[in-house]
C-alpha cells in the first residue's frame, strides 16, 4: 500500500519522534510513504484564529499539490494539520466566496479530490488483523488511556469520527496489540493546545486534569495522536504540582513497541517524561 505523506512542521521539531516512529512502524506494516513535494505549513491555529482566508488559503496549497501528484490519499499525522486540511477541503467543495478567491489565485485550481486521513484511519487501512498478527510483544500489563483531544474528532460534521463524545477507534487499535484500554472521562477534553506559549498556566491546568483523570482510572500510559497534545502532556508535566509521572506515547510509538521495534529507534528517548516505566512492561511473548 502506498500513501501520500504530509508530515507537517512539528514533526521535524518538537514532534520528531512522531515522524521517526511512523516511518519505522509503517515499514513493518508494508505501507509505503510518498512525501508531498515541497509542502508548506497548514496555517495551524494562528491562521484560522486571525484570518479565515489565510487559513483556507494556506491549507489549500497542500491539497492542490497532492492533486498535482495524483495522490488519492494524504496521511496527515498531526491532528491539527489533519483538521485544517479537512476543513479546507470542505470549504473548497462548497464553492464559497473564499474558495473562489483561492481558486483564482491558483490558476483556477478548485478541487481537492484527495482523501485526507489521520493516523487512526491509516492503521485501520493497514488492517487491525494485520497489526495483531505482526505483534511480537506481550503488552498484557499495559493499561492505556487513549487521548483523542480536540482536532481529530471535531468538527464532527466534517471528521465524521466514530463518536464525538465517546470515540473508541483508538481503543480498538490498542486492543488489537494486546494491551488494555482504560475507561476514563477526559479522552476528548482539550489540553489547551496553542496556548502553550502565551498562556502556559492554562495549558498546565488543563493538561494536569487530563493526566490526573487517566491516572485515577488506572492508566499507566497515555496514548496521543497529536504533537501539540504530546508536548503539553509530556513536556509540561514538569510544571504540574502533585501529579504522578506517567509516560505519554504517540500511537505510532506504542504500535511500534508491540511490533518489537527498539524504543530508541522509535525516538522514545526524546521524551521529557521518562518512558522507562512502560518499557519495563513490554514483555517477550512466550
Amino acid at each position: 500500500m502506498k500513501v501520500g505523506y504530509y508530515p507537517g512542521c512539528s514533526l521535524s521539531g518538537t514532534g520528531k519522534e512522531y515522524d521517526l516512529s511512523i516511518r519505522k512502524v509503517l515499514e513493518k506494516l508494508d505501507v509505503e510513504l510518498a512525501e508531498l513535494n515541497d509542502w508548506s505549513c497548514c496555517g495551524a491555529t494562528s491562521a484560522h484564529a486571525t484570518n479565515h482566508f489565510l487559513s483556507i488559503g494556506l491549507s489549500s496549497l497542500n491539497l492542490f499539490q497532492a492533486q498535482k501528484q495524483n495522490l488519492e490519499e494524504l496521511f496527515a499525522p498531526c491532528a491539527a494539520c489533519y483538521n485544517r486540511m479537512v476543513v479546507a477541503k470542505d470549504e473548497l467543495g462548497k464553492g464559497t466566496e473564499t474558495a473562489k478567491k483561492i481558486s483564482a489565485l491558483n490558476n483556477g485550481e478548485s478541487t481537492a479530490k484527495v482523501n485526507i486521513i489521520n493516523i487512526i484511519q491509516l492503521f485501520e487501512k493497514a488492517g487491525l488483523e494485520n497489526i495483531s498478527a505482526k505483534t511480537k510483544m506481550n503488552l498484557k500489563g499495559i493499561k492505556a488511556a487513549c487521548y483523542y483531544g480536540c482536532l481529530l474528532v471535531r468538527p464532527f460534521s466534517i471528521t465524521k469520527f466514530d463518536d464525538a463524545e465517546q470515540p473508541v477507534a483508538m481503543e480498538k487499535i490498542i486492543s488489537a496489540v494486546g494491551a488494555e484500554p482504560v475507561d476514563w472521562n477526559y479522552k476528548v477534553e482539550c489540553c489547551g493546545g496553542a496556548h502553550s506559549i502565551a498562556h502556559k498556566e492554562i495549558v498546565v491546568d488543563l493538561s494536569k486534569k487530563i493526566i490526573d483523570d487517566a491516572v485515577k482510572h488506572g492508566a499507566n500510559v497515555i496514548i496521543v495522536a497529536c504533537p501539540m497534545c504530546h508536548s503539553n502532556l509530556d513536556m509540561r508535566q514538569r510544571a504540574m504540582k502533585d501529579t504522578a509521572a506517567i509516560p505519554v506515547l504517540y500511537l505510532s510509538e506504542f504500535v511500534g513497541l508491540a511490533l518489537g521495534i527498539d524504543s530508541k529507534e522509535l525516538g522514545m528517548n526524546l521524551h521529557f517524561t521518562s518512558t522507562e516505566p512502560i518499557l519495563e512492561k513490554v514483555l517477550v511473548k512466550e
Binding site: 512542521c9 512539528s10 521535524s12 521539531g13 518538537t14 520528531k16 515541497d38 509542502w39 508548506s40 505549513c41 496555517g43 495551524a44 491555529t45 494562528s46 491562521a47 484560522h48 484564529a49 486571525t50 484570518n51 479565515h52 482566508f53 489565510l54 488559503g57 494556506l58 496549497l61 464559497t96 478567491k101 483561492i102 489565485l105 491558483n106 480536540c150 482536532l151 474528532v153 471535531r154 468538527p155 464532527f156 464525538a164 476528548v188 477534553e189 482539550c190 489547551g192 493546545g193 496553542a194 496556548h195 506559549i197 502565551a198 498562556h199 502556559k200 492554562i202 488543563l206 513536556m235 526524546l270 521529557f272
Partner: protein, 179 residues
C-alpha cells in the same frame, strides 16, 4: 453601540458575512459555556459574547478577552443544539477586531499569532525557534521556558535554522491577498 443588526456595518452583519451563519441562530441555552474548558479564565462566557453581538453591543464583544482565550477546541460547536458554530464565530470576532485595529486585552495571544504567521510568511513552514525568539522580543517574556532549551537542543527538537519551503511564491500570494 448600534441596535440594528441587519446591516453589514454591524458586527453581526460582518460575522454573518465571514461565517455564513446568523448570530440569531443562538437561543442562549448556555451549553457552549457549560462545556467550555477555558470558561474559568474568561470574563465573559462564550454565550454572553454572542448575546452582545445579538443585541448590538459591538464594542463589548470586540473588547472582550473571551475570543482570545478561546482555545479553538470546538467542543461548543460540536454540542450546540442549534448547530451554531461558536468557534467559527470567535474566529470572526477576532478577525474583525484585528481589522478594526482594536486594542485587544490579550496582547500576548495576539503577539504569539503574529510571530507564528511571520515565520510562515518568510519560510513557508513554521519555525519554532524563530517564532519563540520573535514572541519573546515582542512580549519581553524573555525567561519563560529557557530551562527547557538546552534539553530541547540536545534532543534535536529545536532547530536553530528554519526548514524552508523551496518555492514560496504561492505562500506570498496568499499573504498578499490579506494585506
Amino acid at each position: 453601540m448600534h441596535a440594528h443588526n441587519t446591516h453589514v456595518e454591524t458586527l453581526a452583519g460582518k460575522i454573518e458575512e465571514l461565517t455564513s451563519q446568523s448570530v440569531m441562530q443562538c437561543y442562549q441555552c448556555g451549553k457552549c459555556s457549560a462545556g467550555c474548558p477555558v470558561r474559568n479564565y474568561m470574563e465573559d462566557s462564550p454565550n454572553q459574547v454572542i448575546r452582545y453581538v445579538q443585541l448590538g453591543f459591538d464594542d463589548e464583544a470586540l473588547h472582550s478577552s473571551t475570543p482570545w482565550l478561546c482555545a479553538s477546541c470546538l467542543t461548543c460547536s460540536s454540542r450546540c443544539p442549534q448547530n451554531f458554530d461558536i468557534a467559527k464565530f470567535m474566529d470572526a470576532v477576532r478577525e474583525v477586531a484585528l481589522e478594526m485595529e482594536i486594542d485587544v486585552k490579550e496582547k500576548d495571544v495576539k503577539k504569539f499569532h503574529e510571530a507564528f504567521l511571520n515565520q510562515i510568511k518568510k519560510n513557508g513552514k513554521a519555525f519554532e525557534f524563530g517564532m519563540v525568539r520573535e514572541y519573546k522580543l515582542k512580549t519581553l517574556n524573555l525567561f519563560q521556558d529557557v530551562e527547557l532549551f538546552p534539553e530541547m537542543l540536545l534532543k534535536g527538537k529545536l532547530s536553530l535554522l528554519p526548514h524552508k519551503k523551496k518555492d514560496i511564491k504561492h505562500i506570498k500570494k496568499v499573504f498578499d491577498e490579506i494585506k
